[in-house]
Symmetry: C2
Subunit: 237 residues, 2 copies
DNA sequence: AGCGCTATGTACGCTAGCGTGCCGACGCTT
DNA sequence: AAGCGTCGGCACGCTAGCGTACATAGCGCT
């Protein structure tokens, strides 16, 4: 197995493709480094590229107005950005903000859409991915409405940990407040509660997950359901 | 802003198709009557049919658990049910509840997926529809989180009015409470406020829209944005 | 060592909405 | 005309979370 293949292998949507499809993809993609805070897409902007994160991850955020924004989805190595290209639409409804620096494979919108025409396996897999995202969006709507900050915070930390592949996350309360659409002080209280239960430890912009199972326990059910849905629709082959 | 429904008496996704595609569709679809309260899909159930409402409309509801449910989308003659079939997935994530009785065109999952293979115009239009739904799901998440009951109620009444094609809606506060994921008493207060402003009138299970423009004024911006998005992505040809 | 920026802790009063329960009014049935 | 089930009005205390403000504490920089 070549190291190049290993890199490709790192995005879960691209694993185990037929050789011809993989080669086709590799021929037209490029490796890019994404840095924290980078904005890949602005809402309603035309998409020029699709991204397949390898060890980076990106938050997808609804911007209602300048005061009200809310993260509704996240894409790491299990997903992609620019999925609306799969539907033949060259615009994105959401703000895409790089939340974990790292690398990603990038492909131009045009090449990507060409490629899909002769990559039925990939195409089908990406349609399944869109279905997963739709269900997650719907669940998010209910979760944000009904669940308490503490449970939502726990869920968010778990999702981030999965994508960062590390116990240690660089996050401020301020940033978390923006993601969850709540006050910074609200995050502080929830974080104190989680820390008091020994589930996390944090200091000045770094949060460490100490007890992953306990955190799952503390999170709302939505975390487990998200995982189960992904596993069902996009199993590791 | 005017609503985008009043002109047509057929399903808007099916209008202005090339003759070949329309004939193909008509050959395999059937007309069905949907009655209030009927459940067309249960979450995670296998979909057997796609529906294209004509003068009926259907609520799509996330069921978190027995206490917590929330409407996240609505499909009337501007949309369809079973859009995941367009993605090649034969299951639905949401509860589909008939909210306005009436007729719809129905087509079996198998026929539908066959048909799409030789109906490029329809296929493309339905992919655009999925994009619209995705954006609406994302916006809903933020709207339900940030906006007050009164504004959300106004928005919901407008959306329902558009799809019912009538000023008079048969709705109880109880039902509205379930849709918006709030208390019945919360709806009563919001409804009193809207009535006091002369925007609606209601009485024992019937709500009449008196001042549509005023109601738009009272609703959150999400209503206008939904309309604008649909108009942009799926214009009348 | 001291400065200053930023992250976090905390406290204040306030509001929206919750859960609940009760009552009256409407209107359908008999 | 009476009875009854459903619908809507309302009131109670309660909670989560808001907006705001200010204080402390860690950390990099000079």
């Amino acid at each position: 197995m070549t190291s190049f293949f290993h890199v490709l292998n790192a995005n879960r949507l691209l694993t185990e493709l037929p050789t011809v499809e993989r080669d086709g993809f590799m021929a037209v993609c490029e490796n890019v480094e994404l840095s924290f805070g980078e904005v890949l897409f602005q809402p309603t902007e035309t998409i020029t590229h699709a991204y397949f994160p390898i060890d980076s991850f990106i938050s997808l955020i609804v911007v209602l107005d300048s005061d009200n924004r809310l993260e509704v989805a996240m894409a790491g190595r299990e997903g992609m950005l620019g999925s609306s290209l799969v539907l033949g639409i060259e615009e994105t409804p959401l703000l895409a903000l790089v939340q974990g620096a790292g690398s990603a494979l990038r492909i131009t919108a045009e090449n990507f859409q060409q490629l899909l025409l002769c990559s039925p396996v990939l195409h089908q897999r990406l349609k399944r991915y869109i279905y997963v995202v739709m269900k997650q969006l719907a669940t998010s709507a209910a979760c944000n409405h009904f669940h308490r900050i503490e449970g939502r915070l726990a869920r968010w930390l778990l999702m981030t940990q999965d994508r960062a592949g590390s116990d240690q996350l660089n996050l401020t309360h301020e940033f978390l407040a923006m993601m969850l659409g709540v006050r910074r002080a609200g995050i502080t209280l929830a974080a104190i509660a989680l820390q008091a239960r020994g589930l996390i430890r944090y200091q000045r912009g770094t949060i460490t997950v100490l007890d992953r199972l306990g955190l799952i326990e503390a999170s709302c059910e939505c975390y487990n359901e998200d995982c189960a849905l992904y596993a069902k629709m996009l199993p590791v082959l």
